[in-house]
Symmetry: C2
Subunit: 162 residues, 2 copies
């Protein structure tokens, strides 16, 4: 059970956009450059975040990517789901209905207990990630940064923001 | 974020072994037949469960796979981890230490807040799955079965158990 690397990238990128001036956009190229991420792969994930309504994108002067909502209203769960797709982590294929001792369809009206257990577990995980927002992630990153890093960040933003 | 199908198979197989007579084994072939699973793929997962110390396997008369511990002492988490491997669901690759505004190694002594958030979420999921055992899964399956299915199961065991 793994989150793909796109989830790590997506959360970091959203936290970066949360720290950018709200009237400025950041290009896909700048977002890739910031964490030295492969531009083509990152672009795919940025498009997924935009499709999910978490980012907006526009062309022209002051174009680029921005958060579509305040950072405090975007949860880590939403970012993970945008990147990885929705649907349960445990996909029940109803193997109890197969084989020489198959359960009848009638006996399987209720979900399989095994699938229900994994759904409860995923729900517990989801609840944690729903409570943590991009604003939390951005604040945590800022509070960990030293003055040298903050100065480099401000200088980079001046260069990179459209 | 997905559990592989091997996790579904592994939990069902362990629940099946929990329902088998404790002095009998079930062959990899019989375990595959029970849920119509592809034998070669299932064999790989059975070997992983054995390596993790959840199943024992022996050759000869009365050989085959058995649970290595009482079903009430094997959690769904252990089965999932045996199949999928251990290690965090969210792999932090420290991208905060890359790029033009990289955090210094000194500023990164504490884990990245994003990785910490995902670790807390995984921990919540793990806690749920640690509390649910193979005995629970087997009991739930038995309680959902009707008399026709139970009779078919008993007849199958007589044929299949070594």
């Amino acid at each position: 059970m793994r989150f793909g690397e796109g989830v790590e990238w997506g959360v970091h990128v959203c936290a970066l956009l949360a720290a950018a001036p709200p009237d400025r956009g950041l290009s896909a190229k700048a977002l890739a450059e910031f964490h030295e991420l492969p531009p083509a792969y990152l672009a795919k994930h940025l498009q997924a975040l935009a499709r999910a309504g978490l980012l907006t994108t526009s062309r022209g002067p002051r174009g680029g990517y921005r958060l579509a909502r305040p950072a405090g209203e975007i949860s880590l769960w939403e970012v993970a789901e945008a990147i990885e797709g929705s649907g349960p982590a445990f996909r029940c294929t109803e193997i109890r209905q197969r084989g020489p001792c198959a359960a009848s369809a009638k006996a399987c009206i209720r979900p399989c207990g095994i699938a229900a257990a994994f759904a409860a577990a995923e729900n517990a995980m989801r609840k944690v990630l729903e409570k943590i927002t991009i604003a939390d992630a951005a604040m945590q990153a800022a509070s960990a940064a030293d003055s040298r890093q903050m100065a480099a960040f401000r200088a980079w933003l001046v260069r990179a923001a459209t």
